[in-house]
Amino acid sequence: MRIAGMIKRVLREMLRDKRTIALMFIAPLFILTLIYFLFQSNVTTTATLAVRGVDSTLVSAVDTDHVTIKHDTSKQSADKVIRKHDYAGMLIQKGDKLTLTLANSDQTKSAVLKQSLQAAQIKLKTKAAASAIKREAAAIKKLQQALAAATRNPAVAAQTPAQPSQSKNYTVKTHYLYGSSDSTYFDTLLPIMMGFVVFFFVFLISGIALLKERTTGTLYRLLATPVKRGEIISGYLAGYGAFALVQTLLVVLYTIFVFKVQIIGSIWNVLLINILLAAVALTMGLFISTFASSEFQMMQFIPIVVIPQIFFSGIIPVSTMPNWLQAIAHIMPLYYGATSMSNVVEKGASLTSIAPSLLILLVFVAGFLMLNLITMRKYRNV
């Protein structure tokens, strides 16, 4: 009865606040669309590669849509050539030795070159296997060495043109965490962002709503009725949960029909994950709002409690992070939500396989619920 009254009120307040409604339902779609265009266009980056004295088999293997080959005949050093013509990199063959120098001022271009060289390597390998031509096998080895030497450089000299260097044969492996070699970064981002937008907006809106109740005195007035503190929180949970559900549906439908992205797993799992994420965001928002005395102060919590979560949500693969950073990831609710979401959307993970993560999200919800109940004691001692 009282919970129903709470829900009715929360819904009424929300529905009458047109701007907040717009923020909740239009902003996520806007952000996703922006990301779609930003990260989709990434694929069309082309890089210019200067070559000098390189075997024609190799050059033609490297030559793709993304790489423009320039033949260089000067005697200048790679550094000079790159600086002079603003190339992305230079590949020089001296006898049997290949040297790749990367400008590395634009890392996406360096990545394109490295990718192309790796692709060339694979191309030549398959050819070599088929025809067993020694010459090509040798070219692969040379290429591998050059690539290994160059890939080590960016870390050391990220800004200045990398110094040519040679080293032993490093094996260069490419891991595709999600999708395949032709999936774009957007495919990786989408499931993460689907969870994140819901998390972010529910956190913000519910937090500010409770904050407003606190500052206008309605929370105190409410607690002067026999309502249980749990009933207040439940009302919030259900009321804002309903909005989070609509928001999720909107995002999912938009993803499917506008981006034409296929969700491999079950839509129900997607909804379930987002509802749980929304519940964490809600209980966390309510709790955090205790420490804010104005909307502005609530905003100040965003860089502290929301932004860091993005970094650990899979945008940067967590498995490649140092151990201590991985440990931090494991205390971030969004890490569990986004990882499960990626697994469901891209790999069609089943409910049982994401269950452990969902359980952890539930633990977060329970924890924040307890904290909320405790902090509300401040207003009424029973």
Binding site: G5, R12, G217, T218, A224, T225, P226, N381, V382
Partner: protein, 246 residues
Amino acid sequence: MTDTIQVHDLQQGYGKTIVLRDINLTVASGDILALIGPSGAGKTTLISTIMGMLKPKAGSVTVLDTTMPNRQILAKIGYMAQTDALYDVLTGRENLDFFGTMQGVTKAQMAERIPHAAGVVNLDDDLNKYVKDFSGGMKRRLSLAIALISDPPLLILDEPTVGIDPELRQQIWQELHKIADEGKTILLTTHVMEDAEEADHVMMIRNGEAIAQGTPAELTKQYQVATIEEVFLQAGRDQDAHRRND
């Protein structure tokens, strides 16, 4: 007649500061008690303690034969806060309906209670307006209507007459007397002396202490003055003199 409110040797404060000392108070059912005192005297703190929002630091509070704090008893208390705590984007009616529901009023009862409560404070015609379009006085009246919505045996009103015009004030007092005549108890705070004169009993609070207690007639007689206001001023002077002697 039983006592609706009993306060014994109450001491109350926030953190380490003591706001109320040695408060003893009984309000019989059907009685109207006015707590009168300057701002900062501790009236709101006393009310919060009686309602059980705050636990007494020392002493005891009993309301309707139940030791406070007690959540269930709040269903029997109609409360009007000192600052209007209303939902701006809801209409007057929706505010009444929401707080009524929280107070435990059923849907069937609501149909009759809302017009009655709104009638007492002359808000009948404005019930469908959003509260954000209300004037300060209208908000005050709506807050009072919310206190009345559950037709409770105990009304606790914190400065109910602030911002209310004299004509309506008189009308509200008529209603309060009617409610008291039905055997319901009313505890209110005020710093307006006219309110004190309407009450059955008066308790004067100053600097966290009860400086005078009794019916208005008893007090004016005891202090040998004509008005409650003069009683208050005299009692205040006595308190200061007493303190200097300490």
